[in-house]
Amino acid sequence: MIGFIQSVLNILLLPGLAFTLIASILLAGIDRVLVARMQRRVGPPVLQPLYDVLKCLGKETIVPRKANEKVFLLAPAVGLISVLVTAMFLPIGNVSAIRTNADMIVILYLLTLASVTLIVGSAASGSPFAGVGLSREMVAMISYELPLVMVMLTVGFVCGNGLATFSLAKIGAYQAANGPLLLNPVLWPAAIALLFVIPCEVGQQPFDIDEAETEICEGVLAEYSGKPLAQFKMMHNVKMYVMSGLFCALFLNIQTGFFLADILIYCVSCVLVTFVSMSVPHAVTARFRVEQVFKFYWTVVTGCAALSLILVWIGL
């Protein structure tokens, strides 16, 4: 029974729901402040994402005439839930809300599900901007899915010592045994590849070709207002937290003895990953064109991922 309560508490509070929501809002806020500071301006208050989401909740929801109303309103809810459930799988130290022995594949599919709900929602909104936006989102998905899978295979293969594992618990145990994987030079290209994948997966500035305000008027979210928009914005924030959490789980899983230190290290490393992978590109480069994103991911990033896969394969 205690085990049951323990796992329910795990889900509800710590690595689960409450922690995810707070962490994702703070992480998104810190990201915006860092980008602002890099442009030498003061930047919004750290809780700005919370205000954005609350304000959107308060606004009126307009369902356009050409939209398919049920799918239009349901898609954001499914997207948010799928991303929140993904966050359940991420371990802090070695404690994670839900534990299966094939976490990575579930995470991969739930992230795909989140992108698919974004696509189906925008398809249902019946606006031409959304049509173009969803095709760009699909191209982005095709481009980052390949390197993401290769990195997961590499890490799974390294930590499996023999039989490849997809479970984050085993990866955590392996890293606890012989140091976080980031120190292992063979895996540096894989880490770089994952760092490149994160901004495109989340839809952050240089790669947010699906919600490009200037080109296609908020593309995918052109017709969204009010509560569905709040859910999509919240999904964007939680995805940012999930992807940096995934990087920490795969490469930076430092497990000290007691839990509080783990949490602190986890938060600091999440902020660091967000800074390196999302804030710096946002402040430094402009938005990519559609086929540039595709060409960039399938040549440079896949090259890095393949390099480390081959190195690991040869048995280094």
Partner: protein, 163 residues
Amino acid sequence: MAKIPYLGTALTNLFRKPVTIDFPAGEAPKAQPNYRGRIAFDGTKCINCGMCERVCAPSCMTRVAKPLEGGEPGDQEITFTFDMTSCTFCGMCADFCAKKAITLTDDYMMTGTQPEDFLVVGKVIKKAPPKPKFTPEQLAAMKAAAEAKKKAAEAAKAAAEGK
């Protein structure tokens, strides 16, 4: 990889003070010298010649003349209203005002919700011109007397030359 542009400056900016002015919290910074902002109208200098109204492109100024209550019958109280929302702040009125009654201050904070917030109103008191000492009839009479005297003088001079 090609050198990523601005990466160096971006990272060093992190540790430098942001350049943002703390305006909504602090007070607004002063505008540059001789900035053409809100119009200031000095009613005492104005002689109501109307040059500013003629020269104003968006015709943002209206003049209303009303007889002054307390003054003598001929006095006028002219109210100038400058509508800031239709002014282009070109400063033509200030240049052409002979008496330099209109000046453009450097107050640029012109926001408001009602139209009244944008009106600059000035009053000009115009004294009636002094009443002439003689009424027109008296003038006619005086003129007629002057003619008569001149004619009498010429008649006398003609008589004198005749002698």
